[in-house]
């Protein structure tokens, strides 16, 4: 964002200010990075009870028309045609080299497809969708429509009190729901590793419903700081850091998000590269990294083998409040990608012993019925 551009506000901006959030510019929006509780306690509260996140800066887009799923498949490697109405899936927009332009959630509707894309990429994503598949489906951007995530083990109790049917929704499913009289769209999803929901709310109802959720004794507002540590502990990629145009879904360890039919048939940008990587393997891979000591290793830290040769770079790193120590992820050469491989992390010029580790760093608590 250039400095001359005015920072945008979400519909919930006044709520953040009234709760004394520390606000920072993020992807063109003035967003809460933390509330007075602080990042560490917000993180722990979300894992122990429930946290509410304003994610209205993300891009909600509806692709209208019966051909929307097939059209979207020309832009992503995920199996979109295989989704039944109400089912949801994680996938990526790829470029012709198989690099990742953005990652996104796709929910199949009845005669339409809904996608949620990253805030920093949304303008480019929307333009690309209009240009590439605008002739096959209508691309409708729900500009700045309020979207909140309610995450944590108490999320189902909290939202279930307002709409009992939310309690038994399957993980990675979405449905229209009436919340306190408002026509919302609820998905059982999120990006914390916890059970929870994302709730798309009409602007006229958003402040009332969010205040109502925050009034619940188990719910605290959570800022971007804890959102980052929660997703890192859960081994989830952050676009622009762990994945970008130079990394493919295979290198990023996201093969699981590419269905069998798509692996075989291709039909998405960069399919030849990605199919070749599936068949022949990759030269580097995203892995978890656990420092032996207490010092966090941050993004950009060089990873070396025990002989001192550079073998990779950390793409996200910090302290895992629930894990109780430093955690990181990054790319390493494939011959060092196996769990338990000893490596050194060059923190402030000094080698810090670490191990390649399986992710997530803390167990995921998704709802499995």
């Amino acid at each position: 964002m250039s400095d001359s551009q005015a920072t945008k506000h979400t519909a919930l901006h006044a709520i953040h200010l009234s709760r004394d959030a520390k606000m920072v510019p993020f992807a063109g929006y003035d967003m809460p990075v933390q509330y007075p509780m602080g990042v560490l306690k917000e993180h722990q509260h979300c894992r122990a009870a429930a946290g509410l996140f304003d994610v209205s800066h993300m891009g909600q887009v509806i692709l209208h028309g019966g051909d929307a799923a097939a059209a979207l498949e020309t832009m992503v490697p995920g199996d979109i045609l295989g989704l039944e109405p109400g089912q949801m899936r994680y996938t990526q927009f790829t470029n012709d080299n198989g690099g990742i332009l953005d990652d996104l959630m796709v929910t199949c509707g009845d005669g339409h497809v809904m996608v949620v894309v990253n805030a920093a990429c949304k303008d480019a994503d929307i333009a690309r969708m209009k240009e590439t598949i605008g002739g096959r489906c209508e691309v409708e951007y729900l500009a700045d429509k309020p979207l909140v995530a309610l995450q944590g083990p108490k999320a189902a109790d909290v939202l279930g009190a307002l709409d009992p049917d939310c309690r038994t929704m399957a993980f990675m499913s979405g449905r229209a729901a009436t919340i306190d009289g408002a026509d919302c769209f609820v998905t059982r999803s999120g990006y914390t590793g916890e059970d929870g929901y994302e709730i798309s709310i009409p602007e006229s109802d958003a402040v009332r419903i969010v205040e109502q959720l925050l009034d619940h004794a188990d719910v605290e507002p959570i800022g971007l700081g804890a959102r980052d540590s929660l997703r890192l502990e859960s081994g989830l990629c952050l676009y622009g850091h762990d994945i970008d145009e130079t990394t493919t879904p295979i290198e990023a360890g996201l093969l699981w998000s590419i269905g069998k039919r798509r692996r075989e048939d291709g039909g998405f940008p960069g399919d030849a590269t990605i199919q070749k990587q599936i068949a022949d393997g990759v030269t580097r891979r995203r892995v978890g990294l656990l420092p032996d000591g207490r010092a966090p290793a941050r993004e950009g830290t060089e990873v070396q083998d025990t002989a001192g040769n550079a073998i990779g770079t950390i793409t996200s790193g910090g302290f895992g409040p629930t894990f109780g120590g430093p955690v990181a992820m990054g790319y390493v050469a494939i011959d060092h990608a196996k769990a338990e491989t000893p490596v050194n992390l060059m923190v402030r010029g000094k080698p810090q012993p670490a191990k390649v580790a399986k992710m997530p760093f803390v167990p995921q608590n998704y709802y499995r019925g």
Partner: protein, 125 residues
């Protein structure tokens, strides 16, 4: 608290004879956020004013701790290795960072007193 001196790097200094106890201020800990790791200098190290003499890592970022004065490190607060959060909960008490035996006490005159530091914080925040 009137015997405390303060640096522009948001450290406090408390004198006892030739030995200065040094830590970060309340304002600094608020800016840092939750502290999760502290790298202390080695006892016996000689430091000069302005040297990086340690690191405080919060959930957000790593921040250098600068020596506010010349001297020799005679003691460090080993408690911070297990309880880095003391920097947040008691920055001007149990969260102290290191003790320096000063080589030039006249450098203290270059630091701020509490009132001047308060004005300085108001001017930067």
């Amino acid at each position: 608290m009137s015997d405390l001196k303060f640096s522009k790097e948001h450290e406090w200094v408390k004198m006892d004879g030739d030995v200065a106890t040094i830590g970060v201020t309340e304002y600094a800990q608020e800016q840092l956020g939750d502290v999760v790791f502290v790298e202390l200098p080695g006892v016996g190290n000689t430091v000069s004013q302005g040297d990086e003499s340690g690191v405080i890592e919060s959930v957000k970022a790593a921040s250098d701790v600068y020596a506010p004065l010349d001297g020799e490190v005679v003691e460090v607060n080993g408690k911070l290795e297990d309880e880095p959060g003391l920097v947040n909960s008691d920055p001007q008490g149990d969260g102290w960072f290191m003790k320096l035996k000063l080589s030039d006490k006249s450098q203290l005159d270059g630091l701020m007193d509490e009132a001047a530091y308060k004005d300085f914080v108001d001017s930067v925040s």
